[in-house]
């Protein structure tokens, strides 16, 4: 196929979610995964070297074109974006679900020391966490985990990319920001 790179670029340009390599393969009916991979890396390099306003990133198991973080402030001005407020409680709960998944509501509440139903619900509605199934315990409690959208929003290829939790012994040296 002529112009494989340009065609892939046009697909990346219109895709609403990260585009998986297999998806590109099946849409273009190209047997050669390596050709696709080469086209993708060459696009990524060109965006760098040509100093484009966007870059190609691998996120949530696929490829996606995103604007450069250093231009975020201008885009926020254009879009009149208000801060996507997730409360501290929301972020804490999200972090617990991300690191401890598959996790029960009672596990989250044990760590946070407070009722977390409302926060879990908010995260569910925002599509950041999902119901993964049920534990074989009395009442068949719901098991929670994070979603692909979580990976997309926090720029993670997959869950393995989450930084390891800080060692307990290192705690107490620096303190979390008290944004109160």
């Amino acid at each position: 196929m002529d112009n494989l790179k340009a065609i892939i670029e046009s697909l990346l340009f219109v895709a609403e979610t990260p585009l998986k390599l297999d998806k590109i393969k099946s849409v273009l009916e190209v047997a050669d995964r390596k050709a696709i991979r080469d086209a993708l890396s060459s696009l990524a390099e060109e965006y760098e070297s040509d100093n484009r306003g966007f870059f190609l990133t691998e996120v949530a198991g696929g490829f996606q074109i995103r604007t450069r973080p250093e231009y975020g402030r201008w885009i926020r001005r254009l879009k009149e974006t208000r801060p996507p407020r997730l409360s501290r409680a929301g972020m804490e709960t999200l972090a617990i679900v991300a690191y401890k998944q598959p996790v029960l509501r009672s596990d989250v509440e044990f760590i946070r020391g407070v009722d977390s139903g409302g926060t879990l619900r908010t995260l569910l509605e925002r599509g950041l966490i999902r119901i993964m199934g049920r534990r074989d315990l009395p009442g068949r409690p719901i098991i929670y985990g994070t979603t692909r959208k979580f990976l997309e929003i926090f720029d993670l290829k997959d869950l393995n990319e989450l930084p390891t939790l800080k060692e307990l012994k290192d705690l107490g040296e620096t303190w979390p920001n008290d944004s109160r």
Partner: protein
């Protein structure tokens, strides 16, 4: 009357200031700049109590969790005052009861901060989206249609329940959902293969619950005549066919 209304108007929940007792405790430990593995328990407990008192004095509703923590702190403080029974000092520091959960909680507080520092979508980085589909997307979708997510499905479900009586959905419980799920899976197998032996359906089961769920699914399917259950005359093997 007006006076009472004023009071409720200014009522704040402690939870609005601190997400919970752990959050308050982190704040105190941080403010005092102490090592979490060597918390001056008497002083921290006192400050914690003062905080609760202050909250009460300004009419803040102190949630039960804060009181439970207050009791725990007081208990630890009293244990610290008792001489150790074990001469060799092997006995665990009573403060560990609070240090361990505090340390774990802190880990996730840091993790949440790390997440916030990443290049977040729709804040630091943006996608191209929301185009009305004129170019390269000429055949659009019919108007009035929206793309769906699981939560929208659940929303639709809740809307119906609001409109009609919830009693139509009394039979929707985790248990019945698991039976419905199994029915769907058996229907998948029959769609693919036409028939399956009774035994095979139990091959993958691991727990007693799973076995009961499969059995209930088969019974329900037989009742609805979605399946026919036949036994081979000679081998005695029971086979399930599409109804």
């Amino acid at each position: 009357m007006e006076h009472i209304q004023d009071q409720t108007l200014y009522q704040v929940h402690l939870g609005d200031l601190f997400d919970g007792p752990m959050d308050l405790l982190v704040h105190l430990v941080k403010k005092n700049e102490v090592d979490i593995y060597d918390i001056p328990i008497a002083s921290i407990t006192q400050q914690y109590m003062e905080y609760l008192e202050w909250m009460k004095s300004v009419n803040i509703d102190v949630a039960g969790e804060f009181l439970v923590m207050a009791a725990t702190l007081t208990y630890i403080k009293s244990r610290m005052l008792l001489p150790s029974h074990d001469e060799e000092g092997d006995e665990e520091d009573p403060r560990m009861e609070i240090v361990r959960p505090l340390a774990e909680y802190l880990q996730f507080k840091y993790a949440a901060e790390d997440l916030m520092e990443r290049d977040r979508l729709d804040w630091d980085v943006f996608l191209r989206k929301g185009l009305n589909g004129v170019e390269a997307w000429p055949d659009g979708y019919p108007e009035g249609f929206t793309q769906v997510s699981l939560f929208q499905l659940i929303d639709a479900f809740q809307e119906i329940v609001k409109r009609v009586s919830p009693r139509y959905f009394l039979d929707v419980t985790p248990e019945t959902i698991s039976v419905r799920n199994r029915i769907s899976q058996i229907a998948d197998i029959l769609e693919d293969r036409g028939s399956v032996t009774f035994r095979e359906l139990f091959d993958t089961e691991v727990t007693k619950t799973d076995i009961i769920v499969t059995l209930l699914a088969i019974l329900e399917m037989a009742k609805l005549q979605l399946i026919r259950i036949m036994q081979h005359v000679e081998s005695g093997i029971i086979r399930i066919f599409r109804g």
